[in-house]
C-alpha cells in the first residue's frame, strides 16, 4: 500500500475557494472585454508609444523606490538585528510605525509639513514627493524581510569567514549573498506595491501608469482600455515573479539556517555615533515629522476636533475590526495553503500556480478588481454576497493573500525538511505532522502575516470605497469621505485616532496568541 505523505483536501479547499471567489470574477471581466473584438481592436490602437513610455516611467520610478527602500531597509535591519546596539527592540517597533498610517494620509502630512518648513510644496508635488512617501512607508517592510533573513544565518557561517578576512568582506561576500533571496523578495514586493499604488501619485498630481488607468476609467468611462492597460501591468508583475522564481530555483543553497540558530551580533564601538545618528535621522524623517504635523493639526482647535473625530469614527470601529479580523484569518489560511503546497509542488502540480494567482489579484489595480467584483457578484443569484460584508471579505482576501503567502513561505523554508521527514519515518500522519510540527513552527509567521494583513485591511480604501454595501460604516471609507470637506484639524484628528486604535489593538492580538507561543517556546 502506498501511503500518501501529503493530503490534498486542504489544498483543494484553499485553491478552489480562492479561484472561484477572487480570480474568476477578474477572468470573467477580462474575457468580456476581450470578446468585444471591436473595442479591443480600437483600444489596442490606443496603446501607442506614449502608453509604453508612461509604463516605462512608472517602472523606473517603482524600481528606484524599491531599490532605495530595500537599501535603507537593509542598513536599518543590519544595525538593528546584527549589532549590539542598545534599545534595538524599541527602535524596531518605532520604525515599523509608518506601516500603520495609510499612504494617502502620510502624503497629506508630508505636504503640509513641507509647506510649514519651506513655504512651498513645489519640490514635493513631483516625483520626489511620491518617492519620499513611498520610501518612508515601504522601508519598514524591507527591514522586516531582511532582518528576518539576517537572524537566520548561523553565526558559525560568519565566524568561519571572520578567521580569514575582515568584517567588511564578510558582510560583502558572505552575508549579502546569503540574504540575496530576501533582498530580491523585498525589492519585488515594494516594486509591485509602488507600481500599483494610486492615491499618492494622484495626490501629488504626478502622472503614472495607475493614474492613467484611473483617468481612462473615471473621466472617459473607457472600461476596456482601462482593463487592457491593467493587463499590461499584471503581465509585468507576473514576469517579475517568474524571474524571482527562476533565480531562487537556480540557487541550490536556499535552505540556509534553521529555526533557533544562534546568530552573530557585531559589537559596535567606533561606529556607535554614526549608527545612532542614522537611526535617529530616519526616525525623525519617517515618523516624528509626519506624526508631529498630524498631532499639531489635531489640537489646532483645542479638543474639539478630537471629540468630533471620535464621534465620527466610533460607529465604524467594530465593523472594520470585525471585517479585518475575519479576513486576516482567511488570508493566513490561504497564504499558508499556497506556501505549503508550493513547497511540495512535486506532489500536486497545480500548486505551482497558486501563488501566481495570488500575485495576479495582488497586482491588478484596485479599481479593476473592484469593478470585476461588481460585474460578477451583482447578479440576482449572488446578491447574498454582493449586498453583505462577504463581498468586502472576498476583496480583502484576494488583495492581501499574496503577502501572507510570501511571509509564510519564507518562514517555511527555514524549517529543515528533516524535521518533517523524521516524523514521516515514524509513520505520523499528515494532519498530525501539520498540527504538531509545521503549524507550531510557523506560528510566529502566522502571527506576523495576520497582523500585517489586519493593518493593511483596516487602511484599505481603493477597493472598499467601490464595493462597500450601502449603509455600512467602514472606517477607511468614512475617514476619506469626511476628510474631503472637513477642516485640516478634523482630518488630522481622524487620521491620528485611526492610527492610535489600530496601534492599540496589536498588543491585544499578541496577548491572545502569547499562550500558544509560550506553549511552543516561541515567544522569544
Amino acid at each position: 500500500m502506498v501511503r500518501k505523505l501529503v493530503h490534498n483536501e486542504l489544498f483543494i479547499i484553499g485553491f478552489a475557494a480562492f479561484f472561484i471567489f477572487a480570480v474568476l470574477p477578474v477572468i470573467y471581466t477580462i474575457s468580456i472585454t476581450f470578446f468585444n473584438f471591436q473595442s479591443v481592436w480600437a483600444n489596442l490602437q490606443e496603446l501607442n508609444i506614449s502608453t509604453f513610455l508612461l509604463l516605462l516611467k512608472s517602472i523606473l520610478l517603482s524600481a528606484f523606490v524599491a531599490f532605495l527602500a530595500t537599501t535603507i531597509g537593509s542598513v536599518l535591519a543590519f544595525v538593528l538585528y546584527k549589532t549590539t546596539i542598545r534599545y534595538s527592540s524599541f527602535f524596531k517597533i518605532l520604525l515599523l510605525l509608518p506601516l500603520f498610517i495609510s499612504p494617502y494620509i502620510l502624503a497629506v502630512a508630508w505636504k503640509e509639513g513641507f509647506f510649514l518648513m519651506f513655504g512651498s510644496t513645489l519640490v514635493l508635488a513631483s516625483y520626489w514627493g511620491v518617492i519620499i512617501v513611498f520610501i518612508s512607508i515601504y522601508t519598514p517592510l524591507s527591514m522586516l524581510i531582511v532582518g528576518n533573513a539576517l537572524v537566520n544565518i548561523s553565526s558559525e557561517i560568519e565566524d568561519s569567514a571572520l578567521l580569514m578576512t575582515s568584517k567588511r568582506h564578510v558582510v560583502l561576500k558572505i552575508v549579502i549573498p546569503l540574504i540575496k533571496p530576501a533582498l530580491i523578495t523585498s525589492f519585488i514586493l515594494i516594486f509591485i506595491f509602488s507600481i500599483s499604488e494610486f492615491s499618492v501619485p494622484s495626490y501629488f498630481a504626478v502622472k503614472v501608469f495607475t493614474t492613467e488607468i484611473f483617468t481612462q476609467f473615471s473621466a472617459f468611462y473607457n472600461y476596456s482600455l482601462a482593463i487592457l492597460q491593467s493587463v499590461l501591468l499584471v503581465l509585468l508583475c507576473l514576469f517579475l515573479l517568474f524571474a524571482e522564481r527562476k533565480y531562487i530555483a537556480n540557487a541550490p543553497f536556499l535552505a540556509i539556517g534553521n529555526k533557533g540558530v544562534v546568530f552573530k551580533l557585531y559589537t559596535i564601538e567606533k561606529q556607535k555615533v554614526l549608527l545612532y545618528s542614522i537611526l535617529v535621522l530616519w526616525l525623525f524623517v519617517s515618523i516624528f515629522l509626519p506624526l508631529t504635523i498630524l498631532v499639531a493639526q489635531s489640537f489646532s482647535g483645542g479638543a474639539m476636533y478630537l471629540v468630533q473625530a471620535i464621534n465620527l469614527i466610533k460607529p465604524t470601529i467594530l465593523n472594520s475590526f470585525f471585517l479585518a479580523f475575519v479576513s486576516s484569518i482567511i488570508v493566513v489560511f490561504i497564504g499558508f495553503t499556497a506556501a505549503y503546497y508550493n513547497s511540495e509542488h512535486h506532489l500536486i502540480k497545480l500548486a505551482k500556480y497558486f501563488d501566481l494567482l495570488l500575485l495576479f489579484i495582488f497586482a491588478i489595480p484596485s479599481i479593476i478588481f473592484g469593478i470585476s467584483l461588481i460585474f460578477f457578484y451583482n447578479q440576482a443569484a449572488l446578491s447574498m454576497i454582493y449586498t453583505s460584508y462577504a463581498i468586502l471579505i472576498i476583496a480583502f482576501v484576494g488583495k492581501f493573500s499574496f503577502i501572507a503567502s510570501k511571509l509564510i513561505s519564507n518562514s517555511l523554508k527555514q524549517i529543515p525538511v528533516s524535521l518533517d521527514e523524521a516524523a514521516q519515518i515514524q509513520s505520523i500522519g499528515f494532519y498530525k505532522r501539520l498540527q504538531m510540527l509545521i503549524l507550531p513552527l510557523l506560528l510566529p509567521a502566522f502571527f506576523a502575516s495576520f497582523v500585517i494583513s489586519f493593518i493593511f485591511i483596516v487602511g484599505e480604501l481603493g477597493l472598499s470605497i467601490m464595493i462597500y454595501p450601502p449603509g455600512a460604516e467602514i472606517m477607511s471609507v468614512k475617514v476619506y469621505t469626511i476628510m474631503a470637506n472637513a477642516p485640516h484639524g478634523l482630518s488630522s484628528a481622524m487620521s491620528l485616532i485611526v492610527f492610535l486604535i489600530t496601534l492599540g489593538i496589536i498588543p491585544f492580538f499578541y496577548l491572545l496568541v502569547r499562550p500558544m507561543l509560550n506553549k511552543y517556546h516561541l515567544s522569544k
Binding site: 498630481a205 473615471s218 473621466a219 453583505s388 450601502p470 469621505t481 470637506n485
Partner: protein, 334 residues
C-alpha cells in the same frame, strides 16, 4: 464542536451583516460630501421612519466610486436614488439609460433651466464657481473680476484650478466652451497655461493651497470657499464675470434609478430632498443657494437673485464635455 459553533456564528454575521428587518428601506448613492449629505439623510430617516442605506463618495476621489458603481450595476441595480453634486454625472447616467423619470410635484417650484424636460433629473440647492483668494497675497483692488483677468501678467504662476478632467472643474471648462465657442475657449486655456496656471488635484486642494498661501487665488466651488472663509479671515471669494458671461451655477440633482426596487420610498426621498426645508438646511450647512423662491437664507449666504448666472444648457454642456475631454487631457498634461 465549540469551534464549529463560532464559525457558524461568524459566517451568519457576515451574510446577515447588512440586512435590515424592516422592509421600509431606500438605497441612496451620493457624490455629495458626507459631512453635508449625511445629516439630511439622518433627518429623513427620523421624519419618515424609512431606513436609508447610503453609499458616500468624496469629491477627492472624483466620485468615481459611486458613478462607476452605478454604471457597473446597471443590469441589476442596487440603488434607488442618486443624489449628485452636479448635473453632468446624472446626464452621463441618463445617456446610458440608468435613470428613470419621476415627475415630483415639488419640482414645479423650480425653474425649468435646472431640470430635465422629462424629469429624469431635477435640480435643487446650487453651488457656483467662484474665485477664492488670499487677502494677504492680493490687494483688494487687484482681485481679478473675470476669468480673462487671470491671463494678466501680475498673476503669473499664482493662480490655480483643479484637475480639469474631473468634478465640477470639467463642467466649468465645458460650460466655457459652450458659452465662448471652441476657438475662444481654447485660446483662453492656452493663455492661462502660458501664464503659469497651477493644476491642483481637486477643488479641496485649491482651497488648501489658497489658505496656506501657496497660491494667491484659485477657482473653486462656493461650498469649498465657504469652508475656507470659516477657517480663516485671510481669504475671501469673488463671483467672476458678473459684468460679462456670468458665473457658472451648479445645482445638486436627484434622480431615480431605472429598475429601482423601492420605488415608493425613492419618491418620498426625492420629494424630501427637493423640498424648501432641505434647501434651507443645505444653505445653512454648506452655503448652497436655494432654487426655490422664498427660502430664508442664513447670513453670508448668497442668493441666486443677486448673481448673474452663466447661460448654459446643462444637457448641451454635458455633451460638449464628452467632446472636449481628449483635448482637456492633452492640455492638462502639457
Amino acid at each position: 464542536m465549540r469551534m464549529l459553533k463560532i464559525v457558524i456564528i461568524i459566517i451568519s454575521a457576515i451574510f446577515l451583516s447588512n440586512c435590515t428587518d424592516s422592509t421600509e428601506v431606500v438605497v441612496v448613492y451620493t457624490s455629495v460630501d458626507q459631512v453635508f449629505s449625511e445629516p439630511i439623510l439622518k433627518d429623513f430617516e427620523q421624519e419618515t421612519g424609512i431606513k436609508v442605506k447610503a453609499v458616500y463618495d468624496a469629491e477627492e476621489t472624483k466620485s468615481t466610486g459611486v458613478l462607476n458603481r452605478l454604471i457597473a450595476e446597471k443590469d441589476n441595480p442596487q440603488c434607488d436614488v442618486f443624489w449628485s453634486g452636479d448635473p453632468v454625472r446624472t446626464i452621463i447616467l441618463q445617456n446610458k439609460g440608468i435613470t428613470a423619470a419621476y415627475h415630483s410635484p415639488i419640482a414645479d417650484g423650480i425653474s425649468e433651466v435646472y431640470r430635465d424636460k422629462d424629469y429624469h433629473w431635477i435640480g435643487f440647492s446650487a453651488r457656483a464657481r467662484v474665485l477664492l483668494y488670499n487677502k494677504k497675497l492680493i490687494d483688494e483692488s487687484e482681485v481679478p473680476q473675470g476669468i480673462f483677468d487671470l491671463t494678466n501678467d501680475k498673476y503669473r504662476g499664482r493662480f490655480g484650478i483643479a484637475n480639469p478632467l474631473f468634478g465640477t472643474t470639467t463642467f466649468h471648462m465645458a460650460a466655457l466652451f459652450t458659452v465662448l465657442g471652441d476657438e475662444k475657449a481654447k485660446q483662453l486655456l492656452d493663455s492661462l497655461q502660458l501664464n503659469g496656471l497651477v493644476i491642483a488635484t481637486s477643488n479641496g486642494d485649491i482651497k488648501r493651497r489658497v489658505l496656506s498661501g501657496e497660491i494667491a487665488c484659485g477657482l473653486t466651488d462656493t461650498d469649498d470657499a465657504f469652508e475656507a472663509l470659516k477657517e480663516s479671515d485671510n481669504v475671501d471669494l469673488v463671483f467672476l464675470d458678473q459684468k460679462g458671461i456670468g458665473s457658472l451655477i451648479i445645482p445638486n440633482t436627484v434622480n431615480m434609478i431605472n429598475g429601482s426596487r423601492n420605488v415608493d420610498n425613492a419618491k418620498v426621498l426625492i420629494d424630501y430632498l427637493l423640498s424648501k426645508q432641505t434647501e434651507a438646511k443645505l444653505a445653512k450647512s454648506c452655503a448652497q443657494m436655494p432654487l426655490h423662491k422664498g427660502v430664508k437664507l442664513p447670513e453670508g449666504v448668497f442668493s441666486l437673485d443677486h448673481i448673474v448666472p452663466m447661460k448654459v444648457d446643462y444637457r448641451k454642456t454635458a455633451k460638449k464635455l464628452e467632446e472636449i475631454q481628449d483635448y482637456l487631457k492633452r492640455w492638462s498634461e502639457n
